[in-house]
């Protein structure tokens, strides 16, 4: 097989906006907000793409196949094929991976791949019993039948289920994502203090990155119809310290749990796009590649320990390319939970785990914190599930460019018990 190289040309994202009630933008609104300036600065017309692939988990009813809706709203032309991908928390990276394969095998030359999520739009869901009651009422033909149906109403019907809460609960093991973090923390002896310290540092790294305008070349401000300007990631808490975080109560497993709102990723809205191109497209449009995708991998494991996903898929890639942990110049390991990130690090440093699970000779070692999530992560930025995987690839490229690094891995854990990873090299 003659694989063609696949280049990352450019990308942009919205500010990640902490959910405070229903947000100002739908998933497609977000994708349009950051997609427009990205397309505007390209030397080719928006309809020059071969297709559009967008990751999105919580698709809202008004925007079925958000990829196509976004493509049309971005003025990419009626003839633009577009589809939406979903692998839960890895969707934004799955879109890049799918595009990567289309270009690699010669099917496409130029693809816009993104991820978007408006968690603040997560619907209130009616209970199944309530829906059945409503259907009966709706189907009732005469007044008597309608009255009879109406009499079946129960107060519990009006207690809606918050869709987001269900969405963040694994249906197989019936554990909330936060609970899976409690599990891996326990298995790898990650303490509350360690998690809080990690979270506080993540916040400070983000605050520093913002102050140094590190995101200037990847984040595009969003503009609300009401004239509101959204020009920074507003989940940042520069004043967070391990001590201040220590005061927070556990949110998932009271009273003794250790995962708090402070050491978890935030519920956030955001979108991100990356432009991928073949050699041909680079030549045709005179583009400047920033990076090349070397490899990608998806792995899966028991859903109750989904947080360890990154260890599996990243290790598989490294093995294929004969790379050790230290050969990776920069890591973007999505911060679903501080404890989960620390559990991953601990797993790589765990002899038994490395031997029996990863089939290594011994423990892989420790990732230098100076190489990991250097500009903060989802703890401060938030985790719009469909967008995060895209953002970490985009940011990894930019961070490597800025620091003159060669090789990096972006990886994330995925609710449902999976992990996704991508090996990138700058060019």
């Amino acid at each position: 097989m003659n694989d063609r190289p696949v280049y990352i040309i450019d990308g942009s994202r919205t500010p990640f906006l902490k959910a405070r009630g229903v947000g100002p933008f739908t998933p497609v609104d977000l994708a349009v907000q950051c997609g427009r300036p990205l397309l505007l600065r390209q030397p080719f017309a928006p309809d020059a793409f071969d297709q559009v692939i967008l990751g999105c988990v919580n698709v809202i009813a008004d925007e079925m196949n958000p990829a196509r809706v976004a493509a049309l709203r971005l003025g990419m032309g009626e003839a633009m094929p577009a589809f939406t991908v979903q692998i839960n928390c890895g969707s934004g990276m799955q879109s890049i991976d799918t595009a990567y394969r289309y270009i690699q095998d010669g099917t496409s030359d130029l693809i816009l791949a993104g991820g978007t999520e408006a968690l603040s739009y997560a619907p209130l869901v009616f209970r199944r019993s309530a829906v059945e009651w409503y259907m009966q009422l709706f189907a009732a033909r005469d007044l008597w039948a309608r009255l009879k149906a109406f009499a079946g109403v129960r107060p519990s019907f009006f207690k809606p289920i918050i869709g987001l809460e269900r969405g963040l609960t694994d249906p197989i093991v019936e554990l909330n994502m936060g609970q899976t973090a409690e599990v891996v923390a326990h298995l790898f002896k990650v303490t509350r203090r360690q998690a809080d310290e990690y979270a506080a540092e993540s916040q400070q790294r983000l605050a520093r990155a913002q102050a140094e305008k590190v995101f200037a070349d990847e984040m595009e401000p969003a503009f609300g119809r009401d004239g509101k300007l959204y020009d920074f990631d507003d989940g940042v808490r520069p004043d967070s310290t391990a001590d201040s975080l220590a005061k927070l109560k556990p949110v998932f497993e009271r009273p003794w749990g250790q995962v708090t709102a402070g050491n978890s990723s935030q519920i956030t809205d955001g979108a991100s796009w990356v432009i991928l191109a073949s050699e041909d497209a680079v030549k045709r449009h005179g583009l400047t590649p920033r990076a090349v995708i070397v490899d990608s991998e998806w792995s899966a494991l028991d859903p109750s320990i989904m947080g360890l996903g990154p260890v599996l898929c990243s290790t598989a890639i490294m093995r294929r390319h004969n790379l050790a942990l230290n050969d990776i110049d920069l890591w973007e390991l999505n911060e679903a939970f501080a404890a989960q990130v620390l559990a991953c690090l601990a797993a790589w440093n765990d002899d038994k785990f490395c031997r029996e699970v990863l089939h290594l000779d011994k423990a892989a070692g420790l990732i230098d914190r100076a190489k990991l999530n250097i500009d903060g992560g989802a703890i401060g930025l938030g985790h719009p599930v469909g967008a995060s995987g895209n953002r970490i690839v985009l940011h990894l490229v930019n961070a490597m460019k800025r620091h003159g690094h060669k090789r990096g891995i972006a990886t994330e854990c995925i609710g449902g018990g999976q992990g996704g990873a991508m090996l990138i090299e700058t060019v």
């Binding site: 427009r36 505007l40 971005l74 003025g75 009626e78 119809r225 009401d226 004239g227 300007l229 020009d231």
Partner: protein, 700 residues
């Protein structure tokens, strides 16, 4: 670009029954404008496709042919008759206004109109179900013809109305009679008195149309009407009640006082004539129809109607200049201030993809809000708002310049700043793109200096607010390429604005003509005349607002700036700027935009004292004649090509009393000699600044 699939199929999306694609044959019609063919059910489809016209109008030729068509219909007695337009643009846009132009004999009008009434009455009397199928525009005479049918079925996009009042007329083809009998007469009169366009949903609610559907169901709708299965909900008792004599008397009085507020009867006789017509004859349709003809004929020969018809053709003339072929798609606007932001929004609304560049996010966010608010007001569908906002792209880095077809610069009025912007832009922009400036006061010759491609540079001077001021001055300079000017004008056509070509000269035409009007008002203020009195003098002349209020509306800072530029650049003597005016500007009392200027402003309205004394007789001349004099100067200097452009520009940019037909037309109707005399007298009394221009000699 890939072929748009709809473009290929679009012609099929007009249901013409047996005349439809693909079987429809265009040959072998005995008539020039009409086609008639029966379908398998024995229903005749009558299609109007006026030859040599983009839109259908009811010319005398079309109506007299219809008379002949009706002979055939009566002879063949089909099961039903469908009438619709074969043009995509709409049903019938109204009467052929050209036929009204220059009419001086009311008796002649009555005769011609009588003939048309006979034809429409024949259609009304046909003993078979008649169905008007209406898409797009159905205005004036078009709606009157539809009203003579038994049923009206409209396509979603239809807009109906009686705009005659805007031409100083009222409906004259039986519309006043048929509309007041079909729907609630109060609403019927309101529709005719305001001339407002009615969209399908409202038309259905009023009972003006019987059903709203889509092209794909027109065939089935016709079938159901002919089969007698179609139910209509027509207004009943209330119509009769409101048409009773006492009700008419009561309502007419109310309508008169409302109409007087909007359009004073002394300048605009049509609303009063319409109200009289209904009040006196509303109980007796045949008598009302006769009276309608007479009243219409009387109105048509009034100067007001003839002048408003002139304005209609002035608009046509300016529109014609915007008719060129320019295929640009991408606009880049630099500067998200009030003008730049609003220009960008207006372009986005009209389908362009617009990058709006500013270095700062806040002004961009403000521009987006203003755009969203505007779109909310003018949109009929929420998706249109979304799509227009999607096309309006805030551009913090100026990236949009590289792919733009047209770049409009709207940064503050500062030569050095603009030149700096151009230097940056010329390096980025495509060589075939056009660079335009929205400057209102800097000569283009100055701005040109340092440009690498001055031939691609022109002025597009918009007025505030962009969405309401139809006129845009297209400013040329010696180095500009003719195709760039033509492209600029064609661009304006695509955003539904009217171009007025002017040569680069201080203040161009409109601001130059307005400035003495404003400055004279300030002099009068200093003489102790009350501001309300001054404004009243101009309003009585027919201006939409007086000079003091206008100065507030425009912004005192801008007035001051333009006045200073004109004083420096032009020989015309101008009264000194009053010190209090510069003080006000200094203090930030700039007019409407700051809530305080010459007036206090509340909810967008100037707070006025209603007790101010009435203006003296020479006040209007003192304000208006200098404006006319500048127009003559501009004509003499060749700033504008002809008098019609001046009239059009002044009406569509300043609202110059439309019923007077524009400043030049007013000068001619009053008499050039009289104007010159009046100016000379004013010069003796008030000073040199009134000395008539030498150009008056040439236009006698």
């Amino acid at each position: 670009m890939t072929q748009k699939v709809w473009d290929v199929l679009d012609e099929r999306n007009l249901e013409l029954g047996p005349l439809s694609w693909p079987e429809g044959d265009n040959a072998a019609s005995p008539w020039r404008h009409w086609k008639l063919k029966s379908d398998a059910d024995g229903v005749a489809w009558l299609v109007l496709d006026k030859q040599g016209a983009g839109a259908n109008t009811l010319s005398e030729g079309v109506i007299s042919e219809l008379d002949d068509v009706l002979n055939t219909v009566e002879r063949e007695t089909p099961k039903g008759l469908v009438i619709r337009s074969g043009k995509k643009s709409g049903f019938i846009a109204g009467a052929d206004i050209g036929e009204f132009r220059g009419t001086t004999s009311a008796a002649d009008v009555e005769t011609r109109l009588g003939r048309a009434h006979n034809v429409i009455d024949r259609l009304d009397r046909l003993k078979l179900p008649t169905i008007a199928v209406i898409h797009g525009y159905c205005l004036g005479g078009g709606l009157e013809m539809a009203l003579a049918c038994d049923y009206r079925i409209a396509i979603d996009d239809a807009s109906l109305g009686f705009p005659e009042v805007l031409l100083g007329l009222h409906p004259g083809l039986g519309g006043t009679v048929r509309l007041t009998r079909l729907i609630n007469p109060l609403q019927a009169m309101t529709a005719m008195l305001t001339g407002k366009t009615i969209r399908t949903r409202q038309a259905k609610a009023l009972g003006l149309i019987d059903a709203v559907t889509q092209e794909r169901h027109v065939g089935a709708a016709v079938k159901s009407v002919v089969a007698g299965q179609f139910k209509t909900a027509r207004a009943g008792l209330s119509v009769a009640l409101l048409n009773s004599a006492p009700a008419r008397k009561l309502l007419a009085a109310r309508m008169r006082s409302e109409a007087e507020k909007k359009a004073p009867a002394k300048d605009y006789p049509a609303p009063g004539a319409l109200i009289d017509l209904w009040e006196s004859q509303g109980g007796d349709p045949p008598a009302m129809q006769k009276a309608e003809v007479a009243s219409f004929a009387r109105l048509l020969v009034t100067p007001t109607a003839q002048n408003l018809i002139r304005v209609f053709f002035l608009r046509d003339k300016l529109k014609g200049m915007a008719g060129g072929d320019w295929k640009g798609q991408r606009i880049h606007v630099i500067g998200a201030g009030a003008m730049g932001g609003d220009i960008a929004a207006w372009c986005a609304w009209h389908g362009f993809t617009v990058s709006l560049a500013d270095m700062k996010g806040e002004p961009l966010a403000g521009a987006i809000k203003r755009a969203a608010d505007l779109f909310k007001k003018i949109a009929h569908k929420s998706t249109d708002i979304r799509d227009a906002l999607d096309r309006l792209i805030p551009d913090l880095k100026g990236d949009g310049a590289a792919t733009a077809d047209l770049i409009i610069e709207a940064v503050p009025e500062n030569l050095a700043l603009k030149q700096k912007v151009y230097a940056g832009i010329e390096a980025k922009m495509r060589p075939d793109a056009i660079l335009a400036t929205n400057t209102s006061s800097i000569p283009l010759e100055e701005l040109c200096k340092g440009l690498k491609r001055p031939e691609r540079f022109l002025g597009l001077h918009f007025f505030n607010p962009v969405s309401r001021m139809q006129l845009v001055e297209v400013v040329s300079h010696p180095g500009v390429a003719p195709d760039v000017l033509a492209a600029g004008q064609a661009f304006l056509g695509r955003i539904d604005r009217l171009p007025a070509p002017v040569k680069s000269a201080p203040g161009f035409l409109v601001n130059r003509a307005l400035t003495p009007y404003l400055m004279e008002a300030f002099v009068m203020l200093d003489e102790g005349v009350k501001r309300e009195t001054i404004d009243r003098a101009a309003e009585d002349f027919g201006m939409p607002m007086g000079p003091i209020e206008l100065a507030d509306q425009v912004g005192l800072d801008i007035c001051l700036h333009v006045a200073e530029v004109l004083r420096q650049e032009l020989p015309r003597p101008m009264p000194a700027t009053p010190k209090w005016l510069s003080d006000k500007v200094e203090k930030g009392e700039l007019g409407r935009k700051t809530g305080k200027g010459m007036y206090d402003w509340k909810d967008g309205k100037a707070v006025k004292d209603s007790g101010a004394p009435k203006p003296s007789p020479d006040m209007a001349d003192r304000l208006i004649l200098p404006m006319l004099d500048v127009c003559v100067t501009c004509l003499r200097e060749g700033v504008v090509a002809d008098e019609e452009t001046i009239d059009g520009a002044m009406i569509f940019a300043t609202g110059f009393a439309p019923f007077r037909g524009g400043p030049m037309h007013y000068a001619h109707s009053r008499g050039v000699a009289d104007i010159v005399l009046a100016l000379t007298q004013l010069a003796t009394k008030y000073g040199e600044r009134f000395q008539p221009d030498s150009g008056w000699d040439r236009i006698k």
